[in-house]
Amino acid sequence: MKQATKLNIWRMLIIAAAFLGLEAAVRFRWIDPFFMASPIQALEVLWLQIWNGHALLLTLLTLYEIGFALLLSTVVGLGAGFFLWRYQLLGRSYEMLLAALFSSPVILAYPIFLVAFGRTAAAVIALTSLFGAIPIIMNTRTAFQHVNPILIQVGASMNLSRAQMIRHILLPAVAPTIFSGFRLGLTYILKSVLGLEYVVQVGGVGMWLSDAAFRFEVTEVYAGLFGTIMLSVLFLYIINRAEAVVRR
């Protein structure tokens, strides 16, 4: 058996053991069921919610917000990143400002977006696309900056047209770094969308969690939590697979 398969089996066993441990703790009342729902019951509720379409609808709404925010971030990020590479002085000047913005707790400014867009999905999309755009801008600029000049000289010596130069030299050279920015941006968007949905009580899966907590439906809270964790893990898995394909 391959080492990777063995490790995967062990990981599954660890997760299963954690589930069983929690289940036993709740069943035998080592933990008060007021605080902790039985994982099996929570999964049952999650499955019911998926089956009757409620969870699916909420997931679709969350995915719509993530997708729209990602689209906005990508368009703005690629454009701004290319611009900042093209105009080096501006690029150097704004690099520090962008990094400062990226490391500050901008998510706390969400009430401003609520005032501007109302308590709607648009507010979540606007704020999260801001988060997503920054790593894409920074990585796009870095990607173009680090294109090996020899590759461009080779292209020029082969009399490649501008379009051919972009298609055959620039794009393959910048794709991996830009994809890293894209991956970071998507991760931030995912975290912020789910977090904001919960805090602001707008939109999809996060709102469901908040709503269940408000009604003190402990089993539903855990069902929502499992759903959110599974969605996050699935997203990261897809991003990692896609990155591996791009880097190949």
Binding site: L7, W10, R11, I14, I15, F34, F35, L89, L90, R92, S93, Y94, M96, L97, A100, S103, S104, P105, I107, L108, A109, Y110, P111, I112, L114, V115, A116, P135, L184, T187, L190, K191, S192, L194, G195, Y198, V199, G206, L209, S210, A212, A213, V218, V221, Y222, G224, L225, T228, I229, S232, V233, F235, L236, Y237
Partner: protein, 271 residues
């Protein structure tokens, strides 16, 4: 207009420096904000004049009104960071000390790190109530992930030859820990602490905006619900300033203690 722009640029060469552009950009933004705020040209509710924001900031800083809220937030962030480090560093060392254990646990932790920590808040409310304890717990979970992951990264960077040399020289486990592991991972742990602090600030204050009795996040939402926009902006500015100063101070302190390894600084981008 072009001639005027060219004349300004030629007459003032500092405009063509990064510092010049940064200064001009910030001043331009402030000027535009003040203009929009005063004329009410665009969303008058959203853009109060910058002058009124500064006045509010002055009031906040010079009167004791913020102190109980600042205390509550600092308690949540500081306690959370301590708890995150208390669990994250030893676990990182344990997971990083065995190759198989590292390979087994690192992906699990990485996948869980992506989950927004604020969603665990309802469980902490059930367990700890709506006081500072539940915010501290969110901050601790938020800080834990970067700290444990960077500690594991530090452990991975230790070259096996160092361990072999230490063993050859007859060093016991404690001596190996003190003379090999600790110096090798310190840079990574410091970076983890700095990033963990940022995560703890965001986690605790975001939780305060959801439900709380005190704290800077609670104040933001209070001002928002009362539509006191200049006060809300001034408080946000205050928080961003505090976060930046704390980040800078930790970075400076750690760089004085030891130079950060490049890989650890790069890893910061992932959080």
């Amino acid at each position: 207009m072009n001639v005027l722009a060219r004349t300004i640029v030629t007459a003032t060469p500092w405009v063509q420096t990064t510092a010049g552009i940064q200064l001009l950009s910030v001043l331009g933004l402030l000027f535009a904000w003040e203009f929009i705020g005063r004329t009410g040209l665009l969303f008058p509710e959203l853009f109060p004049s910058f002058n009124s924001i500064l006045q509010s900031l002055f009031t906040h800083v010079t009167t004791p009104m913020l102190i109980p809220h600042l205390k509550a937030s600092l308690h949540a962030v500081g306690g959370g960071l301590f708890l995150g480090a208390f669990c994250g560093i030893p676990l990182g060392i344990v997971f990083g000390s065995r190759r198989t254990l590292m390979q087994l646990m690192e992906p699990l932790i990485l996948y869980l790190a992506v989950v927004p920590k604020i969603i665990i808040f309802p469980i902490f409310i059930l367990l700890l109530g709506i006081g500072t304890g539940s915010k501290l717990a969110v901050a601790a979970i938020a800080a834990f992930f970067p700290i444990v992951l960077l500690t594991i990264a530090g452990m991975r960077e230790i070259r096996p030859v160092f361990l072999d040399v230490a063993r050859t020289l007859g060093a016991n486990k404690l001596q190996i820990a003190a003379k090999v592991y600790l110096p090798a991972i310190t840079g990574y742990v410091f970076t983890g602490l700095r990033i963990g602090m940022g995560a703890a600030v965001t986690g605790a204050l975001l939780a305060e905006t959801k439900i709380a009795k005190a704290g800077l996040g609670f104040m933001i939402v209070e001002y928002y619900s009362q539509f006191r926009m200049p006060d809300m902006y001034s408080l946000l500015l205050f928080i961003f300033f505090l976060a930046a100063v704390a980040n800078w101070a930790l970075k400076r302190l750690f760089s004085l203690l030891l130079p950060l390894p490049r890989t650890a600084a790069d890893a910061a981008l992932y959080f």
